[in-house]
């Protein structure tokens, strides 16, 4: 085996493969620390389990099963049946890590409940769960193949090449982590330089970002075609993990000097301004001034891209003492039960409710059009992940994306606006 310098992803994968080292591009079979699965495709998984003839899964303790896409068993949907059969199956299998409606996003269940720990490898069904990389855990998205990992306690993967993004400086006034990832997607998506990569973030700018902000960067990375992302855990991340690990082990993994990176990018956070991503591409970010004035019908704050406590705090900073425009519907979805409770303790929910927001139960909600369905020609601005046509209802609706300041300020104005004047006023008050 080659003894070449290893990236973070290579080291985590090597450990899960029972190997000393692995090479980028190599196919290996790994045993995960956990497999995390949502409910939406559960009926299909259940049919396949029956077809294959699986009676018991080998490691029920490694399964983390979360109902986050269809948080309410709503009238007119078949999801109430899914909730029942998933809950029953977990009970029969002895899966204790079942999280029903209202617990929130898999991303948050994994971090807040101590599953995502430094050096762990987690098979999941979505690329945006790379957010757990903020704690040094590696998300390997395998879509509906989570079934394979659940029933075999192992699966194959191609070791991804790694890329490195170095952040310097600090965020300017009215700028959020969402603006940073919008900038990265705008720059790095068209030429495919992050395609299939595990992206490692580092640099003095990263240390200045909150854990929520770091998760925001990682959660939207997959739009560039990147496979996953990870950060070497610092003191802030390790303190967060230590408070939740409950005796479960972790392994802090750092890249070797001289490890090979397919791409290297550097961003000065201080040079980034508020952006809005215009439909239908996730990399279509423009300065907010370019689309300012666009009338909106709906605004939403939530999802794995923008529903954490810092996002709600940012929204509340804008919305305190203000009312949303009368023609706008504003949905706010705390990303998890923990975020919901903390937002209540901090008084954020009161501010949001008094400003006119409809506060939804933790989960994916508006991000996949389960709630907040758009009609023909309607315009929305959201902190959610997606802006392609038809994602939120009508194909002729338009979804703009932005950070929580932009979305909250736009809800107040009834049209897309630069949030900085409102924010400056709020700060002065």
């Amino acid at each position: 085996m080659s003894m070449s310098a290893q990236t973070v992803a290579q080291k985590i994968i090597a450990r899960a493969a029972g190997r000393g080292a692995v090479e980028a591009g190599e196919y290996v079979t790994v045993t995960p620390d956990y497999t995390c699965c949502q409910e939406l495709f559960w009926p299909g998984h259940k049919r396949n389990l029956e077809r294959i003839g699986v009676d018991r899964i080998p490691r029920p303790d490694k399964a983390v099963m979360v109902i986050d896409h269809s948080t309410a068993a709503a009238m007119g949907s078949h999801h109430h049946e899914t909730h029942r059969t998933l809950r029953d199956w977990c009970e029969r299998q002895g899966i204790e890590n079942f999280f029903g409606p209202g617990n929130g996003l898999r991303h948050q269940v994994l971090t807040e409940r101590g599953f995502a720990r430094p050096g762990t490898l987690i098979f999941s069904d979505e690329g945006n769960i790379a957010s757990i990389g903020a704690l040094g855990a590696l998300n390997i998205p395998i879509s509906t193949e989570v079934l394979v990992s659940l029933i075999q306690d192992e699966n194959w993967l191609a070791v991804p090449p790694s890329a490195r993004i170095t952040l310097t400086g600090g965020l300017g006034f009215g700028v959020t982590a969402r603006d940073v990832i919008q900038t990265i997607l705008r720059d790095a998506t068209p030429d495919g330089r992050l395609l299939q990569c595990c992206v490692e973030f580092d640099g003095p700018g990263l240390v200045e970002l909150s854990l929520d902000d770091r998760q925001t960067l990682l959660a939207s990375l997959f739009h560039s075609g990147a496979y996953t992302g990870v950060m070497e855990p610092d003191a802030l991340a390790l303190a967060y993990v230590a408070a939740r690990a409950a005796g479960r082990p972790w392994h802090v993994v750092k890249a070797d000097p001289g490890a090979d990176y397919a791409a290297r990018l550097t961003y000065d956070l201080g040079a980034i301004a508020p952006l809005v991503t215009v439909p239908p591409d996730a990399h279509g970010a423009v300065p907010v001034a370019e689309v300012a004035g666009t009338r909106i019908d709906q605004a939403s704050i939530g999802s794995c891209a923008g529903g954490r406590l810092d996002d709600l705090r940012a929204a509340a900073r804008i919305l305190r003492g203000r009312r949303i425009a009368s023609h706008v519907t504003l949905y706010v979805t705390p990303g998890s039960r923990g975020i919901y409770a903390e937002a209540a303790r901090e008084g954020l929910l009161e501010i949001l409710a008094e400003a006119g927001a409809a506060i939804l139960a933790p989960g994916c909600t508006t991000c996949w059009g389960y709630q907040g369905v758009l009609n023909d020609g309607e315009v929305s601005i959201s902190t959610q992940q997606f802006n392609y046509q038809g994602r939120n209802g009508s194909r002729s609706a338009h979804v703009f994306l932005g950070g929580p300041y932009v979305v909250a300020a736009s809800a107040v104005a009834g049209r897309i606006v630069d949030p900085r004047p409102m924010l400056a006023e709020a700060g002065a008050a």
Partner: protein, 178 residues
């Protein structure tokens, strides 16, 4: 069922940055069916129709899709099911995200990443795509290289997908323990 022999077929050529959910298929329609069995007829009827309206009616079993860079970005598994249900034997792309390769393979559809393919073939030409060897053979006799599938990937492909393969393996395991 395609997928057993080495795919050799007529090329349907597509461009760069083709969206999976909002291009090859239509998310607004498939979303309603999440969790239900795939409606293959509906998926076939919408497959590529926005880009090539004649595709659903004129595609033939064994045809090959050739795509450009970042092909099928943002793809739910229904994208792969739609292409496979249309009879496509292989997809050869300039580049795509890793998840598309996995999702497609699990439905029995091989996706080969083959830099140079977009400039090398024209619509309607007949090419051979060999995932096991990692080779794409052009009418001129020229051979383009792709990363060969691993042994396990070839097994999944030849079984027509990961579920049929696991079904067979578990049946053999049960038979062996009887």
């Amino acid at each position: 069922m395609t997928g057993h022999a080495t795919p050799r077929g007529r090329v349907w050529r597509f461009g760069n940055d083709v969206s999976g959910d909002d291009g090859i298929i239509e998310f607004a329609i498939i979303r309603e069916g999440f969790g239900k069995a795939f409606d293959e007829d509906a998926l076939r009827a919408m497959c590529f129709r926005r880009l090539r309206p004649e595709f659903p009616s004129e595609v033939r079993p064994g045809d090959i899709v050739v795509g450009g860079t970042n092909f099928a970005h943002h793809n739910h598994v229904e994208v792969s099911v739609a292409i496979r249900a249309s009879g496509i034997a292989a997809v050869v792309v300039e580049s795509c995200e890793a998840g598309f390769v996995r999702r497609a393979l699990n439905t029995g559809l091989p996706v080969m990443i083959c830099p140079g393919i977009a400039a090398a073939v024209a619509d309607g030409e007949v090419i051979e795509a060999d995932p096991a060897a990692g080779e794409v053979r052009l009418p001129s006799g020229r051979v383009l290289r792709a990363r060969p599938f691993s042994e396990r990937m070839v097994e999944i492909w030849r079984a027509g997908g990961v579920i049929p393969l696991l079904e067979r393996e578990f049946a053999m395991r049960r038979a062996a323990s009887d």
